[in-house]
C-alpha cells in the first residue's frame, strides 16, 4: 500500500492560538499514543456544519496570518450552504483575496465548489467529509455493523466521485471514519485526509442551542427559525449527552451530534490517510 514516509498533520482551530510542538498533543493524550509520528502541515478554520459559524473576514485573516507565520497551509472549512451563506462565502473569499490570502477551501456543498472553482480559482479545492454520506450511527457501531472498515481494500465505493473531483481539479478528499470504509480509496492524485478523533452522527438546520437562546417566533423556535440569525451560543463548546439506545456517549456541538471513534475504526481508516486533521473538541 502506498504510504507517505511520515504522516502529515493539520490542526483544526476555533481561535488563533499557540500551537503545540507535537501536533498529536492537540487532542486527548490517549490519541497521541495511537497516532504515528508526523509533521504539522496545515491549520484548519471555519465550519463544516453551520453557515452561521462562517468566520468574519478579519477573523479568517487572522487564521491565515498565523498559518503564514508558521509556514503552514491555511484551510477554510465550509458547510452545506443556503443562498445567503453562499453569498457570505463569496464575500469572505473576496475580502481575503484583497488581503493577499488564498486559503484552500474544503467544500461540502457543490454550490461552494462551483463558486470557488469559477470565482476564486487561486484557492485550492478539497472535497469535504460531508460528501461521504456513509453510515456513522453509534447504534450500528455498538451492534457490530458488518463491514466496519472492510471496504478499505477495494476502494471502489467512491471511485466515481474521486475521479470526478480529481478531473475537476480538486487537491484532496476528506472524511471522518464511517462504518463502511474505503471512501478515501488508494493513492491516486488526491491527498487523502482523515478527521480525528470525532465522527459526526447527524446534523441539520435546527439547533437546540439556538432554540434555547431565542425568543419563540410563529412556528416555534425550530421550524419558525430556520432562516433566523444566530448568535452562535455553541462557541462556548460542546455538551455531553447520553442516550438509552446506545452506550456510546455523544457530544452536541451546536446543530451537530458527534462521537469519539473507537481506536480500531480509526486505525482501519488511518491506513488510507495521507493527512490527519486533529480536532481538540467537537465543533460545528
Amino acid at each position: 500500500m502506498d504510504r507517505p514516509p511520515m504522516m502529515e498533520y493539520a490542526l483544526r482551530l476555533e481561535t488563533p492560538l499557540l500551537l503545540p510542538p507535537d501536533p498529536r498533543q492537540w487532542c486527548a493524550a490517549a490519541w497521541g499514543d495511537r497516532l504515528p509520528e508526523g509533521r504539522l502541515a496545515a491549520l484548519y478554520f471555519g465550519t463544516e456544519f453551520c453557515e452561521d459559524r462562517l468566520p468574519a473576514p478579519g477573523e479568517a485573516e487572522a487564521f491565515c496570518a498565523l498559518a503564514a507565520r508558521r509556514g503552514l497551509e491555511a484551510v477554510l472549512l465550509t458547510p452545506v450552504l443556503r443562498p445567503a451563506g453562499l453569498a457570505r462565502l463569496d464575500a469572505l473569499l473576496t475580502a481575503l483575496q484583497a488581503w493577499g490570502r488564498f486559503p484552500a477551501v474544503v467544500c461540502n456543498d457543490w454550490g461552494a465548489w462551483r463558486l470557488v472553482r469559477d470565482g476564486h480559482p487561486r484557492c485550492a479545492r478539497r472535497g469535504g467529509r460531508l460528501l461521504n454520506r456513509g453510515l456513522r450511527d453509534p447504534r450500528a457501531l455498538e451492534a457490530g455493523a458488518s463491514g466496519v472498515g472492510a471496504g478499505a481494500a477495494g476502494g471502489e465505493r467512491s471511485r466515481l466521485l474521486r475521479d470526478f473531483l480529481r478531473e475537476g481539479g480538486a487537491a484532496a478528499l476528506e472524511t471522518d471514519p464511517d462504518l463502511e470504509g474505503g471512501f478515501l480509496g488508494g493513492a491516486g492524485g488526491l491527498q487523502r485526509t482523515l478527521h480525528l478523533p470525532f465522527a459526526f452522527v447527524t446534523s441539520g438546520r435546527h439547533c437546540l442551542g439556538k432554540a434555547a437562546a431565542a425568543a419563540t417566533p410563529r412556528g416555534g423556535p425550530f421550524a419558525g427559525a430556520v432562516d433566523a440569525p444566530c448568535c452562535a451560543p455553541c462557541r462556548r463548546g460542546p455538551s455531553r449527552e447520553e442516550r438509552d439506545d446506545t452506550p456510546v456517549p455523544l457530544w452536541r456541538a451546536g446543530n451537530t451530534l458527534f462521537y469519539e471513534v473507537p481506536e480500531p475504526l480509526a486505525a482501519a481508516h488511518l491506513a488510507q490517510a495521507d493527512r490527519v486533521v486533529l480536532h481538540r473538541r467537537p465543533a460545528p
Binding site: V80, P83, R133, H206, A215, R218, G220, R243, D244
Partner: protein
C-alpha cells in the same frame, strides 16, 4: 405545479390518479440485491414497508398509471462497494424496458454513473443530496439532471433563489417531517429513527427547550400518526402554494409511501383542492380557511405548528426572533 404522490402497491395507482395525482413514485429493490448486498437498503425508506414487492408489480403500476409518469427511488444516501454497476443495469432496465419515466437518486456516484450512461436526463436529484442554494442547483443542472428535489428545511425565499437556477424544482408539500437534515443524517432507520430519542437522555437540553423540541418532533411525526376527519395531521406547505407557483416550482411532493391508501388519497385530495385555489388566485389565508374547513385541527394552523414553510406568514411586529 404537478402533484407527486407515493405508492407501495400497484392497486393504489388508479385511486391516487382519481384523487388528483399527476405523477407517482415508488421504491423497488432490484432482484438479486439481497443476495449480493445483504440488508443494505436501496432506498431511504424500509423496502419491506414502503417498497413494491417486485418487477411484476412495477409493470402493473406503470400500466395502471396510464399517461401519469412513474418514478422509482434509488435514493439511499450511499451504496456499498460494487453496488453502482449493479444499480446502473437495473436503472437501464427500468427506463428502457419497464416504462419508468425517471429515477430519484441521492448518491452522487450513482448520478455520475447514470450521466456516463447517457441517463442524466432521467434523474431527479433526491432531497437527500441537500441541494440548498442556487450554485448547487446550477451544478446539478450542468450535470444534466432533469429535476432537483429541494430539502425540507428551506425558507420560501431560499426556494425561490434555487428555482431561479434554471433547473426543474420539486418541493415538499405534505406529511412526514425530518428532525435533522435528511441528507446529513448518517444514521439508519433500520435501527429505528434516531431523531425520536434525540435530546431525551442524560445531559440533554434544559426542560423548557426539551418540551418544545418534543412537541416539534411530534408534529413532524404526523402528530403521533394521527388523522383528523381522515386527513393526516402532518407537516404541510399548502398555504405557500401561491409563492411556490410564482417561483416556478414544477412539482409538489406528498410524502409517505408506507401510509395506508386512505391517508394517501386524502392527502392528494387536499393538495388538489389547495392547488385549485392557488391557481385561481387565492392567497394563503383563503387556502388555510379551505384546508381547515376540510381537515379540521385549526389550532395547529393558528400556531403555524404544521408549516413546512412558516415564513409564508409575516411575523408580527415585536415577535421577530432575537438571539
Amino acid at each position: 405545479m404537478k402533484i407527486l404522490a407515493p405508492l407501495r402497491d400497484w392497486t393504489e395507482a388508479a385511486p391516487l390518479r382519481a384523487a388528483g395525482a399527476d405523477e407517482l413514485y415508488c421504491g423497488l429493490t432490484p432482484p438479486g440485491w439481497e443476495e449480493r448486498f445483504g440488508r443494505a437498503w436501496v432506498h431511504r425508506r424500509n423496502p419491506a414497508s414502503a417498497g413494491l414487492p417486485g418487477l411484476e408489480d412495477l409493470d402493473r403500476t406503470v400500466a395502471a398509471a396510464g399517461p401519469v409518469p412513474v418514478y422509482v427511488t434509488l435514493n439511499a444516501p450511499f451504496y456499498p462497494e460494487g453496488a453502482t454497476p449493479f444499480l446502473l443495469d437495473f436503472a437501464r432496465e427500468l427506463v428502457e424496458a419497464r416504462g419508468v419515466r425517471g429515477l430519484i437518486v441521492a448518491d452522487l456516484g450513482l448520478v455520475l454513473a447514470l450521466r456516463q450512461a447517457g441517463l442524466a436526463g432521467r434523474v431527479h436529484l433526491s432531497s437527500l443530496a441537500t441541494c440548498t442554494n442556487p450554485g448547487a442547483a446550477a451544478f446539478y443542472r450542468d450535470l444534466g439532471v432533469a429535476r432537483v428535489v429541494l430539502p425540507r428545511h428551506l425558507a420560501l425565499a431560499e426556494i425561490e433563489a434555487c428555482a431561479a437556477a434554471g433547473v426543474e424544482v420539486e418541493v415538499f408539500l405534505l406529511n412526514d417531517g425530518c428532525v435533522f437534515e435528511e441528507g446529513l443524517c448518517a444514521t439508519t432507520h433500520a435501527l429505528g429513527p434516531f431523531c425520536l430519542g434525540d435530546g431525551e437522555g442524560a445531559g440533554g437540553p434544559e426542560p423548557g427547550v426539551r418540551e418544545r423540541y418534543a412537541f416539534w418532533k411530534w408534529t413532524l411525526n404526523n402528530c403521533g400518526c394521527q388523522t383528523s376527519r381522515g386527513f393526516q395531521l402532518g407537516p404541510c406547505g399548502l398555504c405557500a402554494l401561491p409563492r411556490l407557483r410564482d417561483a416556478g416550482v414544477a412539482s409538489l411532493k406528498v410524502v409517505g409511501r408506507e401510509a395506508s391508501l386512505a391517508r394517501k388519497e386524502s392527502s392528494v385530495r387536499l393538495a388538489h383542492e389547495a392547488r385549485r385555489l392557488a391557481l385561481a388566485g387565492a392567497g394563503p389565508e383563503r387556502i388555510r380557511e379551505a384546508v381547515v374547513a376540510l381537515r379540521g385541527a385549526p389550532e395547529l394552523c393558528r400556531g403555524a405548528h404544521l408549516c413546512y414553510y412558516p415564513d409564508v406568514w409575516a411575523v408580527p411586529e415585536g415577535e421577530a426572533l432575537a438571539c
